[in-house]
């Protein structure tokens, strides 16, 4: 039995500045098994996989592959060790043929150093037919469907002699029929002696294809089980964090009048008949998996994406929001999920970032009043306790938590009273998180309404008054925070019917 273990990871730690991404994690993989890696977003699945593929280096811990203790320093070494990885985003070149893609970087040549197309095509075709799939090596990758492209990725990994194949959410873009075909392929790989690490949060699939499952939560290892020994409810219980610690300093606030109401909002394919409202002093949570339409909803309200139909009523009046400028003027502030690419202008100073949406207020005839701008920035640096040497510091040199505070200041400065927070604490250390929660409390106490989108159920449950759950572009359920549990929210988000 012991001989069957081809990969063993023990006491794996991985820390990033301010964050512990993996905290004493274990993982082992046997020959010919499909081992599912399960956890919520941010649980540490990707980090673990990136250590295996050589993208990240572990901070500490032990790794044994094929009985040999080893450190993986780079992706090339991982490849040589027989570890293949198929990402959600494929690494294929659309305008090359299937065969050329499979042998990319290892082109076979004839005596004159010219690429031998025939050798490549026959070699590729052999790998494909061994896999038992109907893909022509001559076809261009761009003409293939998603499922077939995935097969090409699998074939490419096999041509590199992969013994361990990592598949990251392989079914996220496939239809039911294609999933069945993929599973057939996975089974035939197993029979060839390939071990598969399968990352997914679709529970149904795990029971169909998996042999064992390892659950991670908040970077911690929660255990490994044989899939035949565990039930869906048990798995869900393992995935969610039940202890609501003092880390969520939610304070009671008085809920005031309705400030924003959305009626029958539609955006083709993305948002379907969205109805909800939010009141002054309230924190409304929006839960759901990635791609469930949460961020799309925020973008639609903020005037970034066009809507096909629906009404947005702010402070009792109907408004057409055509651009972020409109939204800002109506008092909406949007703290985007990704601070670096959407929230901040990294080369600009702290003070210029804070004043950007409201710079017109500090100006007359287009000329900025530096004194007024400085004063405003100074005020927020003090109130939000932003750690910075001076107001002219470029925000790229601030920490994640301080950057988030700059984004928050920006919307405070624009006098927003409807705040949309999209994953407000992602990549932020624990101490700054608590500060941000406290700021939310202060905002609601001042009569601001907050819409909080988050993948962290504990955060949603700990901070919100009401919670909407989205799935496939629809709001499918609504809960009051005190009357629900993380299990119920997750079941709803996953679309799992009532748990016995």
């Amino acid at each position: 039995m012991e001989n069957n273990i081809i990969l063993k990871m023990e006491h794996i730690f991985k820390t990033f500045p301010g964050v512990v991404a993996l905290d004493d994690v274990h993982f082992e993989l046997r020959r010919e098994e499909v081992h599912v890696l399960l956890g919520e977003n941010g649980a540490g699945k990707s980090t673990l996989v990136k250590i295996l593929s050589g993208t990240y280096q572990k901070t500490s811990g032990q790794m044994t592959i094929f009985g040999q203790e080893i450190d993986i320093h780079n992706p090339k070494q991982a490849q040589e060790l027989g570890i293949g990885i198929i990402y959600q985003e494929f690494n294929l070149i659309p305008k090359l043929s299937v065969g050329e893609n499979i042998f990319l970087g290892r082109e076979q040549t004839n005596h004159f150093g010219v690429i031998d197309q025939k050798k490549i095509l026959t070699g590729a075709q052999k790998i494909l037919s061994d896999l038992g799939v109907d893909v022509n090596a001559r076809h261009l990758v761009k003409d293939l469907g998603v499922a077939q492209q995935q097969i090409v990725e699998v074939a490419k990994a096999l041509s590199l002699d992969a013994k361990i194949l990592i598949m990251d959410e392989p079914t996220s873009a496939l239809t039911d029929r294609e999933i069945t075909e993929l599973f057939t392929t996975i089974r035939s790989l197993k029979n060839k002696g390939v071990a598969i690490i399968y990352i997914s949060h679709r529970l149904e699939e795990l029971f169909e294809i998996g042999d064992r499952v390892t659950v991670l939560r908040d970077g911690k290892y929660l255990g490994t089980q044989n899939i035949c020994d565990i039930s869906k409810p048990e798995l869900i219980r393992m995935m969610v964090n039940r202890e609501l610690k003092a880390q969520f300093p939610k304070q009671k606030s008085t809920i005031g009048e309705e400030i924003l109401r959305v009626e029958h909002l539609n955006r083709s394919e993305v948002l379907k008949d969205i109805n909800f409202s939010v009141h002054r002093g309230e924190i409304l949570g929006i839960a759901g998996l990635l791609g469930s339409g949460r961020t799309e909803l925020a973008r639609a309200i903020f005037g970034i994406d066009k809507i096909n139909s629906g009404r947005i009523i702010i402070k009792g009046k109907r408004h057409k929001i055509r651009s972020p400028r409109n939204a800002i003027n109506l008092g909406i502030g949007f703290l985007t999920e990704d601070r670096k690419t959407q929230g901040l202008i990294m080369q600009l100073s702290l003070k210029n970032n804070i004043s950007l949406p409201s710079v017109e207020r500090f100006s007359s005839f287009g000329i900025i009043n530096n004194g007024a701008e400085d004063q405003a920035a100074k005020r927020y640096v003090k109130e939000l306790r932003i750690k910075t040497p001076d107001l002219n510091q470029k925000v790229m040199f601030l920490s994640g938590g301080n950057q988030q505070k700059v984004v928050l200041s920006k919307w405070l400065c624009s006098k927003a009273d409807i705040f949309i927070f999209d994953e407000p604490t992602r990549g932020i250390d624990v101490a700054s998180r608590v500060e941000i929660y406290q700021l939310m409390n202060r905002l609601t106490a001042e009569g601001v309404a907050i819409i909080m989108i988050s993948s962290e159920l504990s955060e949603i449950l700990g901070m919100c008054n009401r919670i909407l759950v989205m799935r496939q572009g629809e709001i499918i359920s609504e809960f009051l925070a005190e009357e629900t549990t993380q299990e119920k929210i997750l079941q709803s988000a996953l679309g799992v019917s009532a748990v016995a």
């Binding site: 985007t336 690419t341 080369q347 950007l356 100006s363």
Partner: protein, 314 residues
């Protein structure tokens, strides 16, 4: 205060040292270099490139590029000349020249902002279109012979300072003010730093981008006025390859092609470096073929040094 100064102007300071270094070398190598009349001559010859480079600094700060400035200069120049020759008053003719430049720039801006063309393609196209228009308009012949009141714009002096230099100084003071103290300048940096974040902060990116290209065209029109007055002739082939000199001045001056960073003070020093090298090589009797090669090398070396220093800092 001093720390603040270095913080803001550190990069420009480096370029300035480069310029001083060049000046000292030329001072040693040729006796004629360090004379008042030659130095004024250098600045005067630099002024046209320096003015165009201001427009390019704005464009490059938005992470764009404008290859059409030389052609816009030629087209504005010939239109201006024809208006002058038709007997119109000088101010009207000047406004027409500026207007043509502005309009060409706005066309670039509209194609880039609303037509979503890459700036490289849009301005490459306009480079050819404006050049062709200038040639068509004049049937390929120069338009010459203007009144003294017009030529005064190039030949006149105030306190022994040539008019082109005075115009250049005014343009730089104005541009510096716009970039550092106005909403227009702030948005220019914001757009180049991160277009998406700027949009999400309520900046009307399309409008301001269009205006930036408009400004760049307008300054090409201004350069056309000075060049036409100086040569007493507007040529449809004027301004050939000027875009490269202006881009070089901007980049040597520390404006990042990635956008979001740059100052006109740096651009001015960059333009002066280009002018000093040209003048020095002329004084040394170096052939124009060698000059081309030297100037190209200077651009490459300057940017290499800049990139290396930047990488060390981060």
């Amino acid at each position: 205060m001093r720390k603040d100064f270095l913080h803001h102007y550190g990069r420009q300071f480096g370029t300035l040292i480069g310029l001083v270094f060049l000046v000292i070398i030329l001072w040693i190598l040729t006796p004629h270099f360090m004379t008042i009349s030659n130095l004024l001559n250098v600045v005067q010859q630099t002024s046209i490139n320096a003015i165009i480079a201001v427009g390019l600094t704005f464009v490059i700060i938005t992470a764009g590029i404008d290859l059409s400035v030389g052609s816009i200069l030629a087209f504005s120049g010939v239109v201006l000349a024809s208006v002058l020759n038709a007997g119109m008053p000088v101010p009207i003719a000047m406004l027409t020249g500026l207007g043509v430049g502005l309009l060409c720039g706005i066309v670039n801006g509209l194609l880039i902002s609303y037509g979503r063309l890459p700036p490289f393609i849009s301005t490459l196209g306009l480079m050819s279109v404006a050049r062709g228009a200038a040639l068509l308009y004049t049937h390929g012949r120069p338009i010459s012979g203007f009144t003294n009141s017009f030529r005064y714009l190039a030949t006149g002096e105030i306190l022994h300072i040539p008019m082109p230099v005075i115009i250049m100084v005014i343009v730089y003071l104005f541009a510096h003010f716009v970039l550092t103290r106005t909403i227009f300048g702030r948005y220019t940096y914001a757009i180049g730093g991160n277009e998406e974040a700027a949009t999400l902060s309520g900046v009307n990116v399309k409008f301001y981008k269009t205006m930036v290209y408009g400004l760049c065209g307008l300054l090409s029109g201004l350069a056309a006025i000075i060049l036409t007055a100086r040569l007493n002739s507007a040529q449809p082939i004027a301004g050939f390859m000027y875009e490269l000199d202006a881009i070089a001045a901007t980049v040597i001056g520390g404006t990042s092609l990635m956008g979001g960073e740059g100052r006109v003070t740096g651009t001015l020093i960059g333009a002066l470096i280009m002018g000093v090298i040209r003048n020095g090589l002329n004084l040394l009797g170096v052939s124009s073929f060698v000059q081309q090669t030297v100037i190209g090398s200077v651009i490459i070396i300057a940017v290499l040094i800049d990139m290396t220093l930047k990488r060390q800092r981060i």
